[in-house]
Amino acid sequence: MAVAVPTSDSAPAEPAGEILPATSKHAGGGGFRSHLGSLLFLAPGAVWLLLIVVYPLIATVIRSLFDASGQNFIALGNYKSIFSTTEIIVALKNNVVWVVLFPFLVTFFGLVFAVLTERIRWSTAFKTIVFMPLVFSATAAGLTWASIFFIDPHTGMVNAAIQGTANAINPPGLYPIDPASGQTVSGLAATGVQPGPSGSLESKTAVSPGSTVQLGLIAIAPTILQANGAAPAVAPTASPGAITGLVWRDFSPTHPLVRGQVFPDEDGIPGLQLALLNGSGSSVAKATTAKNGTFTFANPGSGNYHVQITANNFSAGFNGIFFLGTQTLTPTSSLSPTLQAIFSLPIVDIAMIIAYLWIWAGFAMVVIGAGLAALNREVLEAAQIDGASEWQTLRRVTVPMLAPVLVVVFVTMLINVLKIFDIILNMPAPSSQSGAATLAVNMYDDFSTATGQGLAAALAVVLFVLVIPAMLFNLKRIRG
C-alpha cells in the first residue's frame, strides 16, 4: 500500500510492511542462497531501467550541451537560446498558471468532496461518478471539454447556457447586426435614414403630424424578412393629426439600382420598434411596424419630430465567448509585448484547468477520503463534545490531521501539471495552441524539428530540474 497514504476499508488492507527492510531481520538464515540467484531476479528490471531510463538521463544532460547537429560542444548555449525566446516566456507563464491554480484547486475539491461524501447515503455512487473520468485520456477529455466550450451557442453548452440567460435579460433584435462579419447599422441606411445615437437609425428630415415619412433600408437578407413574416411594402397614406410612415427594404430585384421608390416586389420590414423623438431628442411615443412595413404615431401633438429605429432592433444578443482562445483575462494591453506574455492569463488555461479538475478531482477525493477514514474519530468526537462547531472541527482538527495526505495529493498533482502536455494539444482551438503551450509542449515541438534536438534536450533538463524538489520530497517521505 501507499507509503504515506493511510488505508481504509474502502481500500482493503494489504500487508502493512515496513518501509525499508530491517536488514538485521534476515541477515542470518534468510534470503537467497546465492547472490547469483537474487541478481538473476533483479537483472531484467535493472537492465531495462539502465538502458532506457538511466543512460538516457545522462545522455540528455550531455546532449543539451551540444548544438543542433550534436557535434559541437556549446556549453550552455541551448539554455541561452531557449531562455531568450518569447516561446519560453509563454510556456513558463502557462506552467506557472497551472502550477499555482491546479494543485490547490484539486486538493481543495478533493477535500470538500471527501468530507461531504461522509454525510450521504449514496457516497459510493457519488465517488464512482466523480472518480470515473480518471479513466479518460487527457486527449479524449480535452476534446470532450472542447465541445462543451465551443463558441457557437448552438453547439457549445456553456455558451448556450450563457446565451439563454443573456437573452432572457436582454433579448436580441429581429434584425441582428454581426460586427464580426463587417456589418454596421449605418450600412443599412438607404433612403431618408441617417445613423442616430448609439447604433440607432433615424429619419433624415423632420416630420410633423399629418405628413408621412418613408424610411428605406438595404442589406437585410430576404430570408430574415420572410422569417419575420414580411408582406409587400405599401406606401403610407397621410392621416390628419397623425404621423404615418413606412420602413421597407429599398431593394427591388427588378430595379436593383433605383432607391427611394416603393416597387411591388419590395417588402416592408415588419416588427421594427420605433420611437418618436421630439425636438430635444427625447422619445415621446413608440410604435412597431406592421407586416407591410407601415406604422402610425396616432396623436403626437403638433411640432417637429424625428422617427427613430431604435438600436435594440439590431442588437445581435450574446454570440458566445471564445473559451478556447488565448484572449487574456488580465488587463495587459498597455504593456510591452514581453510583459504581455508574462502577465496575460489566457482564458483557455482556465477552461483547461476546469477540464483537468474534472479528470483528477476523483483521485484527490479518494486519496483524501482514505486518509479521512483512517483518522482517529475520538479526536473529532472530543472536539465536538468540547463545543467546536462543525466548521471549526474541520478547520482546526480534521485538516491539520489530514495535512500529510493533503500534501501528498498536492505534490502529486504539482508534478503532474509541471509535465502537462496532452490536454494542451487537444483542447485549445488550433489557432490558440501556441499561446497555451507549456514546457512539455515546447519540448515536443523542438524535438519534432530537425534542428531542435539540442534545444529539446535543454528543455527536458529544465523540466527535470523543476521536478527535483518533488523527487527529494518523495525520498524524504519514504525514508521517513
Binding site: G17, G31, S38, P56, A140, V366, A370, L418, F447
Partner: protein, 305 residues
C-alpha cells in the same frame, strides 16, 4: 462549505459521533447531487453527440435529444467501423492500442515482481540504495529519455535492418521502462509485508527461489499485481506523448493518436472525434467498472507518480 451546522446536542446522534449532520443533510445532498450531475454531463454529452447524425452537430446542441430522442442513431459508429481494419481507421487504432497496452502491462507486472522479490528477499548489498533510486525515478519526466532512446533505436535499426523506431515494439520498450519504477515500488512495498519465515520454511524444504517466487510470493501478491496491472493498463492506454514520438511515421496509430489527428481538422469532423472518443474510453471503462477496487488501490498507491 455549505455544512455550517446548528449546534445540536451530540447525544442526539449517537451513530455518527463526529458530525452533527441533520440540519445540513438536505443541503449536502442537494449540493452533491448537483456536483454529480455536473460530473456526468460531459460523458453523457459526448456519448449523445456520437449517437446523433453527423450533420446535426453544428445545427443544434446535443441536449436537444431531451425533446427529440428519435434523432439517436448508430450511423456514426457504422460509418467508422465500415472502414474495417484499414490502417489509420478507428478499428486499426483500437488494435494498435491493444497491441501496445497488453504486452506493456504483462511485462511491467512480471518484471516488477521479479525485481521487487530480489529487493525484498535478496541479500545483496545496496538494496536500499537501489530502492531509493527507484523512488527517485517515480517522478522522472519521461521527456528526459526521449531523445537518447530515439537515437538508440535508430542506431539499432541501422545496424540490424530491423525497425524499432516508429514501431509498436519501440513504444512498448519505452513504456515498460517508465512503468517499472512504479511497479517495483508498489510490489516491493507489498512484498515487504510477507513474513520471511514463510519463505524460510520453503527453503528448508528445499524449494528453489523460482519455486518460492512462483508458488508462494506471486499468489500472495495477486491483489497488488491486479492493482498494478490495471493502473498500468489505463496509464499506457491513455498515453499520447510516447505514441507521438515512437509511432511517428507509422500508419498504425493508437486511439489517442487517431483522436489527436482529428483535432487539426474542422469542427465538422466532430462526429469522428466524439465517436472515436467513445470507442477509446469503452475498454478503460469496462476495466474500471470490473476492477474498481483494484484500480482505486493502484491509484492510492500511485499518489506519488
Amino acid at each position: 462549505m455549505s455544512v455550517q451546522a446548528a449546534s445540536l446536542p451530540v447525544a442526539a446522534h449517537p451513530k455518527k459521533p463526529g458530525f452533527r449532520v441533520r440540519p445540513s443533510r438536505i443541503v449536502v445532498n442537494v449540493v452533491l447531487a448537483a456536483i454529480a450531475i455536473f460530473w456526468l454531463v460531459p460523458t453523457i454529452g459526448i456519448a449523445i453527440i456520437s449517437l446523433r447524425p453527423n450533420s446535426s452537430f453544428e445545427q443544434s446542441g446535443w441536449w436537444t435529444v431531451l425533446t427529440a430522442p428519435a434523432q439517436l442513431t448508430f450511423s456514426n459508429y457504422q460509418q467508422l467501423f465500415s472502414a474495417g481494419f484499414k490502417a489509420g481507421g478507428v478499428l486499426d487504432s483500437l488494435t494498435t492500442s491493444i497491441a501496445i497496452t497488453v504486452p506493456v502491462t504483462i511485462l511491467v507486472t512480471v518484471i516488477s515482481s521479479l525485481t521487487a522479490y530480489s529487493l525484498v528477499f535478496g541479500r545483496w548489498r545496496g538494496r536500499t540504495l537501489v530502492f531509493l533510486l527507484i523512488v527517485a525515478m517515480l517522478v522522472l519526466p519521461l521527456q528526459m529519455a526521449l531523445i537518447p532512446v530515439a537515437s538508440l533505436y535508430k542506431v539499432f535499426d541501422n545496424t540490424t535492418g530491423l525497425q524499432v523506431f516508429g514501431s509498436v515494439i519501440g513504444a512498448i520498450i519505452f513504456h515498460v521502462a517508465f512503468g517499472l519504477p512504479f511497479g517495483i515500488f508498489l510490489m516491493r512495498n507489498f512484498y515487504s509485508g510477507i513474513p520471511h519465515d514463510l519463505l524460510e520454511a520453503g527453503r528448508i524444504d528445499g524449494a528453489g527461489e523460482w519455486t518460492l517466487f512462483r508458488k508462494v510470493v506471486m499468489p500472495i501478491g495477486i491483489p497488488a499485481l491486479a492493482s498494478l496491472a490495471i493502473f498500468q493498463f489505463i496509464w499506457v492506454w491513455n498515453d499520447l506523448l510516447v505514441a507521438l514520438i515512437f509511432l511517428s511515421g507509422n500508419t498504425h496509430q493508437t486511439l489517442t493518436l487517431f483522436l489527436y489527428g482529428q483535432t487539426r481538422a474542422l469542427s465538422s469532423n466532430y462526429w469522428i472525434i466524439s465517436t472515436g472518443a467513445m470507442i477509446s474510453i469503452i475498454i478503460p471503462l469496462i476495466v474500471f467498472f470490473a476492477f474498481q477496487r483494484y484500480f482505486v488501490r493502484g491509484v492510492l498507491a500511485g499518489a506519488v507518480k
